[in-house]
């Protein structure tokens, strides 16, 4: 019987932001993540792609405990991810997440959305939190919307606010769960530009997306997932020009075909 094939796991050192070792997850009977091994170093930009249902969103949601993994070890920024609430809280402080459907808080203004976490989690004084919020809103190029409510903004603007909100906690790692999938095509560019700028500033990021142009431009590594396992990972040029696995080739032909 052949030995089970483990995906490679490079050595862990103090530069490692994410370390996942032999991670398995089940939703009831369904084995949704199989033998995941992944190490992300500081400043790396990872793009995760794959067909729907392949477990890519589940993978990154495990990193901030929005989903629980049943087997294997995950550690973020040296902190082990287990059932200890203190660890989970610490990790969530260092990990920012941007969702497909924005998940902005509709009853608070844009500025309040961004100020909320620094005030209540990092115990930042209000004036300082406001400064930080305005700084990041300026960085995502919508400072003039600060007093408005999320319902009054376009999709692209809302997603940029979501990015600013995550940045206000000054995290070590940013997770993007299909950030542009719910946007009209005219607005995708403004959000991707923001993410490219973020990458250029050295933010460690893991991005689940179908935007292959973005992957080519920004990613250090592209990971292809299918049926809960990492099928192939490589540098973008090698990945797109010379896919090794048949499944990767099939996926790329479907996604790049049109």
């Amino acid at each position: 019987m052949a030995q089970p094939q483990h995906s490679p796991a490079p050595a862990v050192d103090q530069n490692t932001v994410v370390s996942m070792r032999n991670v398995n997850k089940w939703f009831g009977q369904f084995h949704v993540l199989r033998d995941i091994n992944l190490t992300v170093a500081k400043g790396e930009r990872i793009v995760v792609c794959g067909p729907s249902g392949s477990g890519k969103s589940t993978l990154i949601r495990c990193l901030n405990r929005l989903e629980k993994h049943q087997d294997g070890d995950i550690s973020v920024h040296g902190i082990e991810l287990n059932n200890d609430v203190k660890n989970i809280d610490e990790i969530r402080r260092e990990v920012g997440m941007v969702f497909q459907h924005f998940n902005l808080f509709p009853h608070l203004s844009i500025l309040e959305n961004c100020m909320l976490a620094p005030i209540w989690v990092r115990k930042t004084p209000r004036a300082e939190a406001e400064e930080i919020a305005m700084h990041f809103l300026t960085r995502v190029k919508i400072p003039e919307q600060a007093r408005k409510y999320p319902g009054q903004l376009s999709g692209g603007q809302q997603q940029r606010v979501a990015i600013a909100r995550a940045l206000c906690m000054q995290p070590q790692l940013m997770l993007f769960d299909e950030p542009t999938s719910a946007l009209d095509p005219e607005m995708i560019k403004e959000v991707l530009d923001t993410m490219v700028e973020l990458a250029d500033d050295g933010m460690t990021m893991i991005c689940v997306t179908h935007e292959m142009g973005f992957a080519r431009k920004v990613a250090n590594r592209v990971i292809f997932m299918d049926e809960g396992q990492i099928v192939e990972q490589n540098e973008p040029e090698a990945f797109f020009n010379n896919p090794q696995s048949d499944r990767t080739k099939l996926f790329l032909s479907q996604i790049l075909g049109h």
Binding site: N64, R65, L66, L116, V121
Partner: protein, 483 residues
């Protein structure tokens, strides 16, 4: 843009053959100037628009035979309903205002409202309200058997409460939050002392014990926070700290209750009428909302113990009628209490009503919690907020706003359910009014109608007022979110 009509047979044949790929040179079109922006037709805007939409909507379709029949039919129905509306309203106004007897200068009592057939002065067939009856009984209806020299205390409690409430409700005033907090904490203590006379004779040693206990709990909490206790004990320490603050507030309240303000002590058995209705309703409303929220959160909790206890509480209190609760409280409870412990009757009713209402409130709030998109919970978690922080800052503000209609509905129902306390011998507004109907000095054919009319109007004022305020709150909250 209109297509050019196809004339020749050969063209027709051609179109038939190539229908799926019809290439009509007339289809190409480029707009060079914007289409004019015109005002809407009269059926849409202004007063005529309002009339069309709200009054004549179902009566103006004469385009077809079916539509015309329906329109005429709806027109008749409108006329008939309007007739009933107008006649009934006029009849009510006539009974209550136009034909009513307003004063009894000669002190005739019931004879002031008698017709000539009965021996009075009013014309035969007269049938309207007898207001002197209400004037004579007003004190009993509004205050019950409260001693007349001490009514100033009730009025003062009403005045202070109304001023504080108005302060909290009016937008422009400053310090609304502080006044609101005082209204929920200091005012009940103030009102209790004022209305009952205070001086409950709680011994200094009891207060001392509670104070020392609370200080111990608070110290434990502080130690836990500072990190001297870790792990599960640390969580227990922080819970102890919170309990400590609750206990010290309780001790402070006990201390205030034991001070002698030299007010005459008035037993709650002497309270009655509107006073009782307001005390029971307001206490029930104010206490059941936070308790209901906690139960709803408990029922949705991940902790099995919290979930089990909350579910049992809710299902039990929803499963028994309020009348049964009140009976049990008044009859059964003394059997379970140790010798000599005499729970105040009104207090028993208050506790029963509050717990009953909290169970209903819990389900209303749970509906709101379920309606919140899962993404909101995830967004709050992802940004690092703790469970209580995310509930307080993100989830509950949205959930409670969603279910304002349900919450106010429960409040209004509770307000009217307070009438049930008359079953256990407490004279609420309705009970007081009913007992005045037994007074033979005012016996007239309209005595009952007048009394019940007054009770109905008072209930309507409070319930409709709550309803209107809730509409105002809903509009204000939806505006700020621009939904």
């Amino acid at each position: 843009m209109a297509k050019k009509p196809i004339k020749s047979a050969s063209q027709r044949a051609n179109v038939k053959k190539t229908l799926s790929v019809a290439v009509d040179p007339q289809v190409g079109f480029v707009r060079t100037e914007p289409a004019p922006l015109l005002p809407p037709p009269p059926s849409e805007g202004g007063f005529t628009g309002w009339l069309y939409k709200n009054i004549f909507a179902s009566m103006s379709d004469f385009g077809s035979f079916g539509g015309a029949t329906k329109s005429i039919f709806m027109g008749f129905v409108t006329l008939i309903l309007s007739y009933f509306l107008v006649t009934q309203t006029l009849a009510l106004l006539d009974f209550a205002i136009f034909s009513a007897v307003w004063s009894d200068p000669k002190g005739l009592e019931r004879e002031a409202c008698w017709t000539v057939e009965q021996g009075g002065a009013l014309p035969a067939g007269w049938h309207a309200a007898c207001w002197p009856f209400i004037q004579a009984k007003a004190k009993f209806i509004f205050y019950g058997a409260y001693p007349s020299d001490e009514l100033w205390r009730v009025n003062l409690a009403y005045l202070v409460g109304s001023v504080m409430l108005a302060w909290v409700m009016i937008e422009r005033l400053p310090y609304r939050k502080i006044v609101g907090a005082l209204l929920l904490t200091a005012y009940p203590v103030f009102a209790t002392v004022l209305l009952t006379g205070g001086a409950f004779g709680i011994s200094t040693s009891t207060i001392g014990v509670y104070t020392i206990l609370s200080l111990a709990l608070i110290t434990m909490g502080r130690l836990g926070k500072a990190g001297y206790v870790s792990g599960a004990l640390g969580d227990l320490a922080s819970v102890a700290g919170v309990c400590g603050w609750v206990v010290i507030l309780f001790a402070a309240v006990l201390a205030v209750f034991s001070v002698d303000f030299s007010l005459e002590a008035i037993d709650t058995r002497d309270w009655g009428g509107l006073l009782i209705t307001l005390v029971v309703a307001i206490t029930g409303i104010v206490a059941s909302l936070p308790l209901g929220i906690l139960l709803a959160l408990g029922r949705r909790s991940d902790m099995p113990v919290a979930r089990f206890l909350s579910t049992v509480f809710i299902e039990f209190w929803r499963g028994v009628p309020l009348i049964t609760v009140l009976f049990m409280a008044s009859v059964m409870l003394p059997l379970f209490m140790p010798e000599g412990v005499n729970f105040d009757m009104l207090l028993r009713a208050l506790i029963g009503v509050t717990l009953f209402s909290a169970a209903y409130m819990a389900e209303v709030v749970r509906g709101g919690l379920q309606a919140i998109d899962k993404g909101q919970y995830e967004g709050a978690d992802a940004v690092g907020l703790s469970y209580w922080q995310s509930m307080r800052l993100i989830i509950l503000p949205q959930a409670l706003t969603h279910v304002i209609p349900g919450i106010v509905n429960t409040f209004i129902g509770l307000f009217k359910d307070t009438a049930l306390v008359s079953i256990v011998g407490i004279f609420d507004l309705l009970g007081a009014a009913q007992s005045t109907l037994a007074d033979a000095a005012w016996s007239t054919p309209v005595q009952g109608l007048t009394g019940y009319l007054v009770v109905a109007v008072i209930f309507f004022i409070f319930c409709f007022g709550m309803s209107r305020y809730s509409m105002f709150m809903e509009r204000k909250l939806s505006r700020s979110r621009n939904r």
